[in-house]
Each structure stands twice: as C-alpha cells, then as structure tokens.
Symmetry: C2
Subunit: 338 residues, 2 copies
C-alpha cells in the first residue's frame, strides 16, 4: 500500500518536473552543438520519458517535492528548486565517472567514455551553470528566497567537492577509519540530500526549527543511502545497479565494507594490495569479505541511520499523503536489494 | 604617463581586492584539507602577494573595478563582483589545463600535474562554487542586483563552456574557418571579459544603454585579447608567457594563425598532420607559417578589434582617471610583446 503512495505521487510530480527540467536546459543549449548533445544524452532525454530508461531515479527532486508538500506548501512551487538539485547531482555524476573511470552509468556508456574526458569536463561544468540558471527563471520565489536557495545549494556543492576529493584520496591511503569514512560520505552524498529535503521546507515557509528537522532527516537518509550503495558496490548485481558486478572492488575503492574488512582480516589486506583483475579474483575478495562478517555489521550501521532519519522526519511533523510517502520512500530506498 | 595611471590604480585596488578574495575563499575552505591546498596553490597565495609571483594578471577584476569607477560608482562596491569574475576565470583555467594537458601555468606546474587530473577537476568545481558564494556575502548589493549579477555570470559560464568544447573539437576537425574560430573565442574568452566590464556599469547604476556599451567594449577587447594570445602561443617566448615556446603548436591546436596558415599553405597542411615533436620541428612549422604572411594578417585582425573596443568605450563616456586608465589598459594589453 505504501509503495502505491510513492508511485501515485511520483506519477503526479515527475513527468511535470521532467518536462520543465528538459525544456529549460535544452532551450538555452543549442541541441545541435556538442554540449547540448552530451547533456541530452546524459540526462536520458533521448530515451523518451520512461522510468526504465536512462533517466535516473530522480530521488533528490522527488524528496524536495514531497518535503514541500509535507511541510504544507504546494509541490509546484518547488519545481525549479528540484530541477537545480537534480542538475547539481548530475554535474557531479559526470565528473565522478571521469574520476572513477567508470564506463557504465544506469546501464549505458558514460559521457566521458563516449566523448572523452576533456569534453565530459565541459558537460559537467555546463550542468553546474544550468543548475544556477534554472532558479533565475522561477517566478514563484522572492529574490531573497532565491538567494537563500542558491547559497544552500552552493554550500552543498562545496561539501560535495570536498567529499569527492577525500574519496579519491582514500584510494591512495594505507589506512582509512570509520570516522574518516563518515566525514567523506557526509560531504560526498549526505550534504546534497540534506539540502534537497531542507529546501522543500524552506520554500513552504516552514519554521527554522522544522527546516532543521528536514535537513537532519535528509542528512541521516543520505548517509544510510551511501552505505546501502557501498553494499551494492560489492554485492549488487549488474541488473540492479546498472554497473558491472564488484565495480568498487575493481576500482580498489575504500568503501565501508572494505574499510571494516581491511581492519579485521590479514588475508584481505594481502589480497587488496592490488585491484582484482578478473571475475574470479573479484569473487575471492567477496568470499574473504563475507567471512569477516562485515555485511551484517555494515547493514546494522545502515539501519541505525535509517532509524535516525525516521525520527528526524517524525519531529518535522510531515503532513498528509506526502508525509506518508516520505516514510515509505525511506523504507523503499533502503530496502534496495543486492 | 598612461602606464603610470594603470600602475597607480592597480596598486590602489588590487591589494585590497586580493586580500578580500583570499580571506573569503580560505575562510570557507579548510586549508589543511586537499581542496584548500590546491586552491591556495593555484591562486598563487602561497607565493605572497607580489605581482611577479604566481598570482596571475588579475586583468578581469581590474577591468571590473575600473569600469565601476569610470561609470560613476565607487570601486569598493564591486569588490565581490570582481572576486567572482576572477574565481570563474580560475575555475576555467584549472579545467582547461587538464583538457589541454598543459604542464605549466604562470611559469609554475599546473594543479593537475601536481595532484592528478581527478583531483584537479575537484579544485575547479570548488572554485566554481566559491565564485557564487563570494557574492552572497556582499552587503553593498540589493538582492535583485545580486541575482542579476549571478545570472550574467552563469550565462557567461555557459558560453565559456560551449567555447571550450568547440576549441577541443577543432583539434579533431580537418577544416576550421574564420567564422567558426570567431564563434569559439567569443564563447571561450570574450563572454567572461564582456561580463567583467558590463558588471562594473551595472553596479554603478549606469543606464541600460551605457551597460551595453561597456559590454560591447569588453566583448571586442576579449576577442582582440584572445587573438593576441594566439600570436603569443606561436611566437611568444617562454619568459613572457610562462608556458613552453610554441605550446599551441605542440598541442596541435587550431588557433587563428594556424587556421589561416592551413588555408594558405599546402606545405603547412602536410606538416601539421602530426604535432611537432621537438624544438626543431616547432621551428620548422613557425618558419612555414611566417612565409604565408599570417602574422601580419592576424595582427591586422587584432588591431581592428582594438579599434572597435576603443570606439565602444568612447560611446560609454567613461569618467575620470579610471576612464583614462581603461584606454591605457587596452593599449598595454594588446601591445604584449612576443
């Protein structure tokens, strides 16, 4: 029943959101020129507006629109804000794929793997500029509110960039502990999800106290979401993740299961001195990881964060079906199967 | 005498500007963390605030501050705008150096050559966010003016990115003509210089007509400036440019002298099928280029644009010593020797 609520509201909000996003970005980018082509491709617009296409999950804008309604506003008032959030997310994905040398995203070749890293840097930069411009065209917000929104978004971008830098540094570091990891994912993932939820409250004219609850909700949700992503990066199947199996292991990333596994197992430390080169070596690393019991440990950390997220959401007193949908969405996102 | 005016005003404005810029960026970036270190290095702040250091020429902010005074405002009112312009310029330089694989900038190793392309992408992204945040802290501007400034800057960023994309595409194209080239440098270089001059007029409360004159002035100046840069990219000495001699030739770039040379000379077309590999091969390309007479032709194009820039500036009726300094600055910038 709960998944029905999300489905109903997603179908109400997202097509309007998507059409608005697409028209604003493409109207100010010559579609015949290279930058326009890359953005059109990356955003999944060439595949039509079907959810099973390259569109991505649009989770951050959905959170913004649901939080707007749950905080007492009308979701349409937040449509440009939701667009800005999604564009920032996608700017960071394009650059992230270059940095990680990822060849697949949402089951399709990444921008850099089609056009080269040099041009993909431009595509990300253009989306960053668009994320700002999209708010300029919004007439439902006062100049003061627009500036508040832009400030919160740019602060999140700065955290995101610092988290991204820490993530890349980890690959070269011999030792990374839980604190360093939490700090990194708060920047890389939680800061943008926190601003997605906070901005819904802001645009609804919620009290500062409520805004803080929505932000804290997004923050905890973001951390839980990244931990789940880390689990999927080791145990997720390609058909679920849209990426090759064991992708994070091949890139020798220091994600949470690996950080904890390296602390617990000499065998893993020896194995992980080099990235696994083929499917058999990936399987060996996974088997050793499983013997350390980190999957259960990491799942516990995830569930703790989910509990905090739900408590914070409850403190925000979300209203109506959108409030119910937010609770359901948390459970759905964190139940993502391997 | 004219260069004395520029020197006097630069010494009055730039140290205040630089200190303001440095403190705003570094206060919100942990200097001990990697992103802070990269920005501190790239901006040249580690070298002290001496003009012969890695600081860069700060031409765009100087233009903004001079145009503000010349349009009847006080330069201090534009200090955050000038900071934003310089940060956007530097974000694009960091990404440009990755794209061009340039190892030197202002005579020092580039960010990517020290920290790797992956981290340099983050450094550029962080500067892009800072460029927006720096305006949020400005109290001398109304919310409406701040939004206008942000919009003009983001539109310039979009043009810049599209110009940058065209520039990279040119390397792979067999034929590039003068129109395509002009279109590319209008995006890559002129758009940000045009916004630097226009924003000075905007912050001074100049009429729309005057704003257009200042923008057109910056636009023509930007085109002339890039053409001069192209001349220096072939004939400039390393001690003047801070880059290796014939840098553009080694990267097989399609800059203006080369585009025109390729149109005129079969010998050059044959030679330029591959990038020159050593100093001797670079010299051969330069000799063949000179035989086509393109240096004179390109210099004529530059001088035509300088004339247009000075006419547009004159139509804006710039006031006082700042107005005189602008005229002097145009002549100084475009007189940059090889």
């Amino acid at each position: 029943m709960n998944s029905t609520i999300i489905s109903r509201l997603s179908h109400e909000y997202l097509p309007v959101f998507e059409e608005n996003l697409r028209s604003i970005v493409m109207d100010s980018t010559a579609a015949t020129k290279l930058v326009g082509q890359m953005l059109h491709y990356h955003m999944g617009w060439g595949d039509g507006l079907k959810s099973e296409s390259g569109l991505g999950k649009r989770i951050r804008p959905l959170l913004t629109l649901l939080c707007t309604e749950a905080a007492g506003g009308h979701w349409r008032k937040a449509i440009s804000i939701a667009a800005a959030v999604e564009l920032i997310h996608n700017f960071s994905l394009i650059h992230d794929d270059i940095q990680d040398k990822s060849s697949l995203r949402r089951g399709r070749p990444t921008v850099w793997s089609l056009w080269g890293a040099e041009q993909a840097i431009n595509a990300g930069d253009a989306l960053f500029a668009h994320a700002h411009l999209v708010l300029q065209k919004e007439h439902a917000l006062s100049p003061e509110s627009k500036l508040d929104v832009l400030r919160l978004l740019d602060e999140a971008c700065l955290s995101l960039t610092e988290g991204q830098a820490a993530d890349i540094e980890f690959e070269r570091k011999n030792q990374v502990d839980l604190d360093m990891y939490m700090n990194m994912i708060e920047g890389k993932t939680a800061s943008l999800i926190a601003v997605s939820t906070e901005l819904g409250a802001l645009v609804s004219g919620a009290s500062l106290q409520q805004r803080v609850c929505y932000r804290d909700f997004g923050y905890a949700l973001g951390v839980a979401y990244q931990v789940r992503d880390d689990i999927l990066g080791v145990w997720g199947r390609s058909s679920t993740t849209g990426k090759p199996t064991g992708d994070d292991l091949r890139a020798r990333k220091k994600t949470l299961p690996i950080i904890l596994g390296l602390e617990r197992s000499d065998e893993l430390r020896a194995l992980y001195k080099q990235a696994p080169q083929n499917d058999a070596e990936v399987e060996t690393v996974i088997t050793v990881l499983e013997e350390t019991g980190v999957l259960e440990e990491v799942t516990d950390i995830e569930f703790d964060k989910v509990e905090i997220a739900l408590q914070k959401l409850s403190s925000a007193s979300p209203k109506g079906v959108a409030g119910d949908a937010l609770v359901a969405l948390v459970r759905q996102l964190l139940g993502r199967k391997c």
